[in-house]
């Protein structure tokens, strides 16, 4: 049992670097720094959204939490237990801790297996031998995600995009994980279907007492679903806090840039943006926001020393000492 102060997931100074070979016969070797000394926590029952643009390292972070990417440095704790390094649990153990819902459910389901087979496989691997038990769990899972139990006999191509994402969610939940990583869960879906999936995810979170880490670039969805938000820029968190702090009063120029770039139909037409993102607030004395310039980042070099500073309770931004 975990004690009450320990968050469900704690990422501590995580770095993930990839060696990249370049040049003639791959003789030059460089290090691509995908994630740089990143720390974050996920509390039980929370939805933490990690937002950022492509290449910022958000997917690498997710893979590390799932145990699919070995960190270069740093540790990840699950209910206080280290899941990286020497003490790491087996893959089977890990599968019961965290699961993932993928962006494109069609690409993540085996087209030659019925939904039943796809859902039964993890159960069998985890030692559920009793046929009736397997049937019962699949049946209740299908109902939980809003599908009919008899549809489990069908193949992935027989479902629409929204139904396939429901199956993707069922597959992630069948082992009763405590953490679910949602990787752009609605961005591949038709617009008229998105609300169904967003509502379902929020309902399931309450009913099953789940905790979510959501990777997304759609800030309207993030604002709707999250309890806390972490904004990433090139391997580092530049701003993090509760959803209302980050969305109502964004401090970091990069967060403001992201929020300012949202095209919301009503905002576009009325000209009334809910957030004034034009002027960046003054940073604390002696500090400047880091980074200040965008689009010139070198992923191969070590970024200058900067720190995530708490401005108030549950709201931090990345600052660098002036001078």
């Amino acid at each position: 049992m975990s004690d009450n102060n320990e968050p469900l997931v704690r990422v501590d100074n995580l770095s993930v670097h990839f060696p990249v070979r370049n040049g003639l016969f791959g003789r030059t070797k460089r290090t691509l720094r995908a994630v740089n000394e990143l720390s974050l926590t996920l509390n039980k029952g929370e939805c933490l959204s990690v937002v950022g643009e492509s290449g910022c390292g958000k997917s690498t972070l997710a893979l590390s939490i799932l145990g699919l990417q070995e960190p270069t440095a740093g540790e990840i704790f699950f209910e206080g237990r280290s899941i990286t390094g020497k003490a790491q649990p087996t893959r089977l153990e890990r599968a019961g801790m965290a699961q993932m819902v993928f962006q494109d459910p069609y690409a993540s389901l085996n087209p030659r297996q019925t939904i039943y087979t796809s859902l039964a496989a993890p159960l069998k691997l985890h030692g559920v031998k009793d046929r009736a038990e397997i049937n019962r769990r699949i049946e209740s899972m299908m109902q939980l995600v809003g599908l009919k139990p008899e549809q489990a006999r069908r193949f992935p191509h027989e479902f629409s995009g929204g139904q396939r994402q429901r199956i993707g969610i069922a597959r992630a939940l069948i082992l009763n994980p405590k953490v679910v990583v949602l990787d752009e869960p609605v961005s591949a879906l038709d617009v008229s279907i998105r609300a169904q999936i967003i509502n379902l995810l929020l309902e399931l979170k309450e009913r099953l007492d789940l905790s979510y880490i959501m990777i997304s670039h759609d800030l309207s969805v993030v604002e709707h679903m999250s309890d806390r938000v972490a904004v990433m820029y090139f391997g580092q968190i530049v701003e993090t806090g509760s959803w209302d702090r980050v969305f109502t009063d964004p401090q970091h120029p990069y967060t403001r840039r992201l929020i300012g770039a949202i095209l919301d139909p009503v905002t576009e037409l009325t000209g009334q943006s809910p957030v004034d993102t034009r002027e960046t607030p003054e940073p604390p004395a002696g500090y400047d926001y880091y980074p200040r310039e965008f689009g010139k980042h070198d992923v191969y070099s070590l970024p200058p020393a900067s720190q995530l500073v708490a401005l108030r309770e549950d709201h931090s931004v990345r600052l660098i000492a002036r001078g």
Binding site: S192, H217, F247, L263, P265, V266, T267, P274
Partner: protein
Amino acid sequence: MTDNLLEVRDLRLDIVSGGVSHNVVDNVSFSIGRGEAYGLVGESGCGKSITALSIIGLLRKPLAVTGGTLNFNGRDLRGLSKGELRRLRGEKIAMIFQEPMTALNPLSPVGRQIAEMFVLHKGATWKEAERLAIEALGNVQVPAPEERVKAYPHQMSGGMRQRVMIAIALACNPDLLIADEPTTALDVTVQAEILKLVKELCAARGTSVLMISHDLGVIANMCNRVGIMYAGRLVEERPVADLFLHPAHPYTGGLLKSLPQLGSRRLEGRKRLQEIEGTVPSIANFPPGCRFQPRCHRATPVCSAEIPPLSALSHDGFVKCFNHER
């Protein structure tokens, strides 16, 4: 004679294969004025992209235009020969696609791909065209264009590649630019830059735009008038502000209400999003009458018996629905 640049009347597209024919676009009519930006909105499979492809004559079998007229600048596009269409494409009507990496030739430097336009359509020499290509690349705000013309598509970022596509599309000052989900594959901050660029360049040249997207925010940002397509039919057409602030068709209204709106959670707390029940019908079995009727909360018996006629709305708008908002 109207002053419209493009007039699409009663366009009908079918998939014809093995003696079986499925209707994919049914009686779609719209027009685009000179210098106007028209948005065509719909979900995947609603027929918006193939409508655009039929305009520039790029439909491939088994898809075929089976009815209606396509009038561009007073010329009937359906009557043109392949050669005439080829000359029209690129010079008078240009198109940019969603994924520039697949639309650009990976084996040719981008400068050459831009220069080709001047050689093919304007009869320029390659030397001249090269100079024009550098200029064109500068116009789409690619830094150091003299250098970047030598770059291959894979050496550029997604945003830069889409700028190259825009440079190619606008090279010959076309009258109409068709943009099919031009920013869907891009990051949000890059999307904002690209849309701004397209808007400015088209406004400066008086180019008309046909913007195709499923993203209502992009459409609201870019377009003057908007048509909403559902399952192969145009169900509502309005000036942009009317459409988004007072949608008339239940589908349009449902779509707008189903999306989380920025800032609303802060004002009203988190509300359950209003869902549109069911799924988009497949081409093989469109429901009878109004095609949205099985998912519609306002449906009445007449909806499944007859195809709703066009009802005119204020400011040149229309809706096709028996029970629309008034």
